[in-house]
Amino acid sequence: MGSSSSNMNHIPNAQELMQETGFSAAHLLRLYERFEFLDRDGKGELSPDDFEAVRELALNPIGGRIIEAFFPQGQETVDFASFVRVLAHFRPNDPNRKDGAQQDQANSRTRKLKFAFQLYDQDRDGKISRNELLQVLRAMLGIQVTEEQLQSIAERAIQEADLDRDGAISFDEFKKSLEKVNIDHKMSVRFLK
């Protein structure tokens, strides 16, 4: 393990990161290698171009949103710590771990849902408005459907989920509409264990 520990020295604040995100040393190392791979010009930080270089993301309907999620509050670059923090959301929930407050864990169900919610809610007003939902639908369904159909679907979705009748979906309503879905399963990447 000699080489890996020397590599670990390259990672700033490795111990704190592991503590905060719950990743193991091996995983952190793997992520660091990936980070370095994406960081083509070796700045130690990633910019949106680096993400866009990932070919498959271009085909992804919500690829742009995912990239934006890594850059909170209009930052231009993202360092390794932030990179890892975002990916920590997708760590599978470990039911056997009993350290600290489960609710605050980065990969708890609420945090996962919050992350997804923020991908919808681009203007960060805490609600998914009709327009935001429409944008997502438009991105996902593409050119195969007409505008009216999109409107109908968005309308229907809001009517179903909107319990307080304010015409938009708040985070709690979002959570409620997904209560039957196994979020741990749906929002976990197996690689990140």
Binding site: E56, I62, F90, A116, Q151, I153, A157, E160, V181, M187
Partner: protein, 765 residues
């Protein structure tokens, strides 16, 4: 003489006249079954002999004594075989009816147990009557006629997504678990047989290979038994798919092991080379079976593309192709079960997109019917064969077998879960493991395989059969009966009703994309990555080939959305249709009952009768019907019981509630500015062309069955009242004064509003 099935409680039923009639009918069937063959002739041989004698007597001279012309003649031999088959099927079906008339009984005892009991009784009766019990569980009959319908039913309605997601786990259980079971049981049995060298014991004659063969026969979890028992306990989807998937996929292992040991039992020894060949054989059997199935599945999907003019025989293609897949696989000694599953699973999405709504219903009902009858017959025959079969009871052998089966299963499951949990995101808990272990039921397949054994090679055949039957009885009766209370006791998660909302649908798709993106960022080619690639490939190439017309382009979300709209429209009509807008109330009425049993109230009938010209009318109907078919894609109806119960009946109370809510909401509607719009498809769009093509013969307007569809169209139409302020300008000026009334087709510039709605509904195609 019997008074119907032994398990009937005469006090419980028979109170009402129809039930008495049913009881009488069963008695008659029994009488007929047992008396008639006795009366006609005592045995087939004698009958045949008599006939020959008669002919011999008749031939020499044509001028034999002239008998009176027989006005009424009894010629049983002529129709014997089909008659007996029909009698068995009738008996099976009546039994099924009978069991459900006794409410208490069917909740305590699983159907499979009752059926075996009936089989035992029938077998006992036949034996008492001195007749030779027909070899009903003849292996050929079983494997070629009785088993395929059940497997096809399971394969066609297999929920692909959970199956694929858990495929690794399922394969581990199926392959490694079955191997472990086989060797553990076989090996230990051999060891047990060898102990006590002092006392001369018939068991000492047992060699290792027959033991291993026996182990491999008895080790496989049986899909028929699992289906029969698990259906009634409604556990959550994960456990169901794990146990059921295992029971399906272990067929390949069983086939290979069986043939391997059978071959080498003659030779006496097995070398390493044979072992290697065995492994290769396993891969060939499994993958070959799947390949054969997939090929036939694709052929079937391709054929269904061209059936738009001959809708009536569409279901036939599904059945025949699947059966041929099974037979072809069996021909090469590949795994027929896997071929059947692969065929059903591969062809389903494409066939469903191509065939008509009626064909879909036909396929579904026929599959359920056949598999139901098949399963019933299998259990009854098990009972009959038990009474009949030559038995060699050996206390040691049988009890050790039963114990070993249980122990092997538990150890296998626990051990494998420990390994599997390292790789799973959602781990299997102890409760899950218990249910999986407890759900390892053996059934008729084991028995039939035992039956196939050659007496010359295996002198211990009867002992094997006895032991197999005991294990089957034990698992079906003891485990089958106790699993339901245990599930309750352990508070295992039950199956959730599949009431997906459109939100779930949207968000699930969203999350899929999100996960794919994250996996790409991480550089990890995981589950989602490959699924995404497969979907893309499917959309780009495969769908174009196999799906007719414009349907190939419809995204899943649209289909789902349309389904919900349909549901609600029809539900609205059913509840009396007092509201203009089927607003935010999510629909929970199952789509299985499109033609409601209760006649719709008269009032809406008068109000809502559309006045459209006939041509358009029935175009609309066709479109609606073809859309209703979309609902099937989402129905997880691999459970036989979802067809037996009618959720619509149960939900009527909900409907009344909803109606009230809707009336409340109607007030709110006036304030709402956003609305469900009714877009129009451009006149030359594919949807319009398809709609035109879909129009066939005229359907008479006033037929009562059609009126329900009328109401649904009218309800959809009523949503037209207010249009979205920023709606597409292809909406022309329409008469805004519609409430529940439908004016005669207002304008004819573009299609009338009603048509528009329906075209909107099909626009995604």
């Amino acid at each position: 003489m019997p008074s119907g099935a032994g398990s009937h409680n005469p006090a419980g039923i028979g109170r009402s006249l129809p039930e008495r009639g049913l009881l009488l009918l069963m008695v008659l069937v029994f009488l007929e079954g047992s008396v008639l063959p006795l009366g006609a002739a005592s045995s087939p041989d004698i009958r045949h002999q008599e006939n020959v004698d008669n002919h011999k007597a008749a031939d020499p001279g044509h001028n034999f004594t002239k008998k009176a012309f027989p006005v009424l003649d009894l010629d049983y031999k002529h129709i014997q075989t089909p008659f007996e088959i029909s009698l068995w099927v009738l008996l099976a079906s009546l039994m099924k009816l009978g069991f459900h008339l006794i409410p208490r009984l069917s909740s305590i005892v699983p159907e499979s147990c009752l059926l075996i009991t009936v089989g035992l009784l029938v077998g006992g009766l036949i034996k008492l009557a001195g007749e030779q019990v027909p070899p009903v569980l003849d292996s050929r009959l079983f494997f070629l006629c009785l088993l395929p319908p059940i497997i096809l039913d399971a394969g066609y309605f297999l929920p692909i997504r959970p199956f694929m997601e858990n495929l690794g786990t399922i394969l581990m259980f199926a392959v490694v678990g079955t191997l472990w079971n086989a060797f553990f049981i076989g090996g230990l049995l051999y060891a047990v047989c060898q102990i006590q060298p002092a006392n001369p014991n018939p068991l000492h004659a047992m060699e290792l290979l027959p033991c291993l063969l026996f182990g491999s026969i008895i080790s496989a979890v049986d899909p028929v038994a699992v289906l029969a028992v698990f259906e009634e306990i409604h556990i959550n989807e994960l456990l169901h798919i794990l146990v059921f998937g295992e029971s399906l996929l272990n067929d390949a292992v069983t086939v290979v092991l069986y043939h391997l040991f059978e071959e080498f039992a003659g030779a006496g020894t097995v070398t390493v080379m044979d072992g290697v060949l065995g492994v290769i054989s396993f891969l060939v059997v499994a993958l070959g079976g799947v390949l054969v199935g997939a090929i036939y599945g694709i052929l079937s999907a391709f054929t269904s593309r061209f059936t738009s003019h001959t809708r009536v025989i569409e279901p036939l293609f599904v059945f025949v192709y699947s059966y041929m897949a099974y037979l072809s696989a069996e021909m090469f000694h590949l795994s027929g079960i896997m071929a059947l599953i692969a065929c059903g699973a591969v062809m389903r999405p494409y066939v469903e997109a191509n065939i008509s709504h009626k064909s879909h219903t036909t396929i579904k009902y026929f599959l359920k019917m056949w598999s139901s009858v098949s399963e019933t017959l299998i259990f009854i025959f098990l009972g009959v064969a038990t009474v009949d079969g030559p038995h060699a009871w050996n206390w040691t052998f049988v009890t050790v077998t039963v114990i070993l089966c249980l122990v092997a299963r538990v150890i296998g499951v626990v051990g494998l879960t420990y390994v599997i949990n390292q790789f799973r995101i959602v781990k299997l808990t102890t409760k899950d493991q218990f249910i999986i272990a407890y759900g390892g039921l053996r059934g008729a397949i084991a028995f039939s395989l035992g039956f196939l054994l050659d007496k010359n090679h295996f002198p211990m055949r009867e002992m094997f059969l006895t032991a197999i039957i005991t294990v089957v009885f034990f698992t079906v009766f003891v485990q089958g009966m106790t699993i339901k209370p245990l599930v309750e006791l352990l508070a295992v998660k039950k199956k959730q009703e599949a009431k997906r909302s459109i939100n779930e649908e949207i968000h699930t798709q969203f999350l899929d994309h999100l996960l794919t993106g994250i996996e790409d960022i991480c550089g990890h080619y995981g589950h989602h990555h490959w699924k995404d690639k497969l979907n893309r490939f499917n959309k780009k190439y495969v769908k174009k080939c196999l799906i007719a017309g414009e349907r190939s382009k419809e995204p899943q979300l649209i289909a789902f959305y349309h389904k919900m709209e349909m549901k609600q429209a029809i539900e609205l009509v059913e509840s009396g249709g007092g509201v203009k807008l089927p607003s935010a109330v999510p629909s929970t009425v199952s789509m299985q009952n499109i033609q409601p049993k209760k006649p719709p109230p008269a009032k809406p009938a008068e109000r809502a009768l559309p006045q459209l010209p006939k041509g358009r009318e029935e175009e609309i109907r066709k479109i609606l019907r073809s859309n209703l078919q979309r609902t099937r894609q989402r129905l997880r109806s691999y459970n036989r019981h979802t067809l037996v119960a009618d959720p619509y009946e149960d939900g009527f109370g909900d409907l009344l509630l909803k109606k009230q809510r809707m009336i409340e909401l109607e007030k709110k509607i006036k304030d709402m500015s956003n609305y469900l719009t009714v877009p129009a498809a451009p006149p030359d769009s594919p949807t319009m062309c398809r709609a035109r093509l879909a129009s066939g013969k005229h359907i008479h307007l006033s037929s009562p069955q059609m009126q329900t569809l009328d109401y649904s169209t009218s309800t959809i139409f009523t949503r037209q009242d207010k249009t979205h302020p920023v709606a597409n300008s292809t909406h022309r000026d329409q008469t805004p004064t519609l409430s529940q009334h439908i004016t005669p087709a207002a304008t004819d510039i573009s299609p009338p509003p009603l048509m528009e709605i329906c075209l909107h509904v099909t626009a995604g195609m």
